[in-house]
């Protein structure tokens, strides 16, 4: 049996998948299960449904009372207003989106590289006290970041790096070290030690073994970490709001959206909904296409390989 938690979840080992006729009681339970599953499905989908249909009603005709009603005719005008702004809706989400994409991609790549190196050492080149240090790392992933935030803001202000978006690259790289190390370490633990031994017999160095044996096997773990860091940095609000303050020049997707929906634009519900949807799209698309890898990153938080 596989040790991998995601394989376990997606494995279909139907206990009674023996092709035979179901008796009445079993039929009842099967129907009951489907009805319940579909009921839950509706509840889960409802919020995104509300978001999507209300983004297609145009700018003006969006009211709470019609929240669940389908649009009479599909109108994309709220999309262009939310994306680039107009005279009555001065904020636009496009600058913030590009800025977010810019820093998120960089922080994810750096995080993945660091995580891979750390994970390799913690899994295959353990040194005295490495397990203890690894546990110290892990604690860093559970802390509430409020506990480090005020000093962090002070450092950023003193070094004058809070005027650039790189302050968020730094924050996500630093505080991403624990989880990225964990994901890679768990992944490398599963690689047989014989492979490393074989390399060592050939007198390959630690770096050489990493490059020619480990790295080529690491692509799935890189995907997991890249997606994880991408999603969590994209959705991050805490670091962004503290480190870039309210500065509009440095607003990222979440802070810009919070500003838009929290300010006086309450009249333009349609635009607010659309802006929310636009901000959700990148991570949603990643989930749709790479859900399995996303799930793996998510579950690594439970510390199980």
């Amino acid at each position: 049996m596989s040790n991998d938690i995601v394989d376990l979840i997606t494995s279909k080992h139907d206990v009674r998948n023996k092709k035979r006729k179901l008796n009445g009681k079993e039929k009842f339970w099967l129907i009951f299960r489907y009805v319940s599953l579909i009921f839950i499905w509706f509840l889960v989908v409802m919020p995104i449904y509300v978001m999507v249909i209300n983004s297609l009603k145009g700018v003006k005709n969006v009211y709470l009372v019609n929240a669940f009603k389908l649009p009479e005719k599909i109108d994309f005008s709220a999309w262009s207003v939310a994306w680039s702004g107009t005279d009555y809706f001065p904020q636009s989400i496009s600058d913030s989106m590009t800025r977010t994409l810019f820093f998120v991609v960089q922080s994810s790549i750096i995080s993945a590289i660091l995580g891979s190196i750390n994970g390799y050492v913690f899994a295959k080149w353990k040194f005295k006290g490495s397990n203890f240090i690894f546990t110290l790392f892990l604690f860093g992933m559970f802390i509430p970041y409020q506990a480090i935030m005020i000093p962090l803001v002070r450092i950023a202000t003193t070094l004058d790096i809070n005027k650039s978006i790189y302050v968020l690259v730094l924050a996500h790289v630093i505080y991403g070290i624990p989880i990225c190390t964990l994901i890679f370490r768990n992944y490398y633990e599963a690689i047989p030690n014989e492979l490393i031994e074989a390399g060592r017999v050939d007198k390959a160095s630690m770096v050489r073994i990493y490059r020619s044996i480990i790295l080529p096997l690491s692509i799935p773990a890189f995907v997991v970490v890249l997606i994880w860091q991408f999603t969590s940095a994209w959705n991050d609000f805490l670091f962004a709001i503290f480190l870039t303050g309210g500065s509009p020049k440095l607003s990222v997707a979440t802070t810009a959206l919070n500003f838009i929906t929290g300010s006086s634009n309450q009249v333009y519900y349609g635009v607010n909904m659309t802006a929310s949807l636009i901000v959700s799209l990148p991570t949603l698309i990643v989930y749709i296409f790479l859900g399995r890898y996303f799930l793996r990153g998510l579950l690594s938080g439970s510390l199980k390989g």
């Binding site: 190196i117 962090l152 919070n258």
Partner: protein, 303 residues
């Protein structure tokens, strides 16, 4: 079973490994532990404004002040209410989802993918929608859940949701449950499927009924999973921040510890108080997480 082979390593390599992780170790030590110490230090001073002159140590004053700070105890109580409802709700919902899926059913992948998508979306974005769904407008003006309740004949259940004095935090738990049930589902599903089929078969051969199999054979096997879920949900719940901000901003009724910390720091520039609140939050989370980490690292040592 690869773990049977023990790591054998030449002496010379030990230092090499350390060298490669040293930059990360230093970074974590400084930016996690160093800054926590720095925060503790600030929390022991009288730095209660933006200015930095006349900073003195005042001992635990900021912490004792919190005890008599009505706003803080309010946010703590709010957090407690939220946590109880959120954990119970997500646990029950996720467990039911897992029970419905665990035996395998046609279309499982479809349901599972949908049940898990909420975790990919930012709460600032979902806040806009939940602001509507949990809107307090009633009867003819109702739009969200209140309207849905009317439509299915449960109009008497309409309420103020997150605006009400009493029920605000319970209402706030709903979107959190919506988001995290999938996580519980995933962990329970892994738990169920990690149980060897032979155990069910054996119980069945012994004449146990389906419900007996669940109660006496399967559920006891899920205890470690349950513990993991409780710890993960617990620490997520205590950190609740953007969920609250996204739906209701900094409003007093739904203020929790993390939000109050933000308000004290940003709006009042009371850094000493802000750090004190943050350290209280850290201690609360550490109480839950540290035993788990220790248990986990012992398990690792056996592998």
């Amino acid at each position: 079973m690869s773990k049977v082979v023990k790591n054998r390593r030449p002496v010379s390599s030990r230092i090499g490994g350390l060298l490669f992780v040293l930059p990360s170790i230093i970074t974590v030590v400084i930016f996690v532990y160093g800054l926590i110490a720095w925060s503790v230090n600030v929390s022991l001073t009288n730095q209660n404004s933006g200015s930095k002159k006349d900073i003195k140590y005042v001992g635990l004053k900021n912490y004792t002040d919190l005890i008599s700070d009505e706003r803080f105890t309010h946010s703590l109580l709010n957090l407690f209410k939220f946590t109880v409802v959120f954990i119970l709700g997500a646990l029950i919902t996720g467990f039911i989802m897992a029970l419905l899926l665990e035996k395998g059913i046609k279309g499982e992948g479809f349901f599972r993918s949908f049940y898990l998508y909420p975790m990919a979306i930012s709460f600032i974005a979902m806040g806009t929608v939940f602001n509507w769904i949990l809107n307090s407008a009633r009867d003819e003006e109702a739009g969200g859940l209140n309207l849905a309740l009317q439509k299915i004949g449960l109009g008497f259940l309409q309420n103020d949701w997150y605006v009400s004095e009493k029920g605000a935090m319970y209402a706030m738990a709903l979107p959190a449950i919506w988001q995290m049930s999938g996580y519980v589902l995933a962990l329970f599903l892994a738990g169920f499927r990690g149980i060897p089929d032979d155990m069910r078969e054996a119980a069945r051969v012994d004449g146990a009924s389906e419900s007996q199999i669940y109660r006496h054979v399967l559920f006891p096997q899920l205890t470690p999973t349950l513990l993991t879920i409780l710890i993960i949900l617990g620490h997520i719940s205590m950190k609740a921040f953007d969920l609250i901000i996204g739906i209701n901003g900094k409003s007093y009724v739904t203020q929790v510890v993390a939000v109050y910390m933000w308000e004290s720091t940003f709006d009042s520039r009371d850094y000493a108080k802000g750090t004190a609140i943050a350290i209280v939050l850290l201690i609360m989370i550490a109480i839950v997480v540290v035993p788990y980490l220790r248990y986990n690292s012992k398990q690792q040592a056996y592998r």
